[in-house]
Symmetry: C2
Subunit: 184 residues, 2 copies
């Protein structure tokens, strides 16, 4: 075996990328794919790329509480019928699937990398940190605007929260005004 054929075995890493419906998270994923996961014939990384999408639960209540009593709308929040709740749930699942498919497409050229997807429910700030911790990932990648312009308004900066909380390295990728998400 010549030196050129020699396989360099390096320890596999777990790379967690938080994705959402925003273009910025797709750019962050592309950046990670092109800069952290470049593989060649001589290097087998066997890294695992975990794509995480967090569904934010809507603050809604069914028209009946646990005891069967009707709640007071003015104090308990908005009321939605089971049909509307079901439609909203379906829409939320469709968005999650759509984001995951788009993310997977960005990873299609990766060799020697295992791509996994994970969908969680909750506040993205907590969910991302919990998954990073639980899986013991080596690096967390995310866009700055995590979770879109509107959601960000009431969630605050997801990325700065995670950068502060998680113990592993955090890569925050901003999308340039004009960019093609390629290694540059």
């Amino acid at each position: 075996m010549s030196a050129a054929d020699e396989v360099v075995e390096v320890k596999a890493r777990k790379i967690l990328v938080a994705v959402d419906e925003g273009e910025e998270s797709m750019y962050a994923l592309s950046w990670a794919v092109n800069n952290l996961l470049v593989s060649s014939n001589n290097t087998t990384t066997k890294d695992t790329l975990i794509l995480l999408y967090v569904k934010i639960p809507r603050v809604v209540y069914t028209t009946l509480d646990g005891t069967g009593r009707r709640m007071n709308p003015s104090t308990q929040g908005y009321l939605f019928s089971a049909d509307i709740l079901s439609s909203m749930e379906k829409y939320s699942n469709d968005v999650a699937q759509c984001v995951m498919e788009k993310s997977r497409r960005l990873c299609k050229d990766l060799q020697d990398v295992k791509v996994e997807t994970k969908i969680e429910n909750g506040d993205p700030r907590d969910a991302i940190c919990e998954v990073a911790e639980k899986l013991g990932v080596d690096v967390l990648v995310m866009g700055t605007h995590g979770y879109g312009m509107i959601k960000r308004a009431f969630l605050g900066s997801v990325s700065s929260h995670c950068a502060y909380k998680v113990k592993c390295p955090v890569l925050i990728v901003k999308r340039p005004k004009s960019s093609s998400a390629t290694r540059e």
Copy 2:
């Protein structure tokens, strides 16, 4: 030429790593070397790694102002003799050189990567952002505690400031409690 010999040419990147006298920034540099700059025989990146150290100016005044008049110590700040100022300057330069040598040693095994060093004066928060902007770097790497425990106390978090300000991706690397700074 066989497929195994084929050289994959990818666009060269500029990677800026902010280093200081703290162990955390050395860990951040090692992480970047092992995770962003891995090269193999089949991939020539020709990346440039820029090691940046920022010297923080001490708030001191000479005993004479520009016009030759002696300043009032109680209103103008501490007074130091030229000898002491010169010693402090020498010490500061020695620290910078020491950090740079240590940083260079961590990069000694890098192939196809041009390593440059840069020493700036000023507030590290501004200096790092300015260099990143001016050089148009592709990624900024830094530890969380940038600029040591004591300096951090009055400088605030350098990394969070830079993560907010710079336009390029920012990789914030925290040093685990027990770590060997290797790719893991």
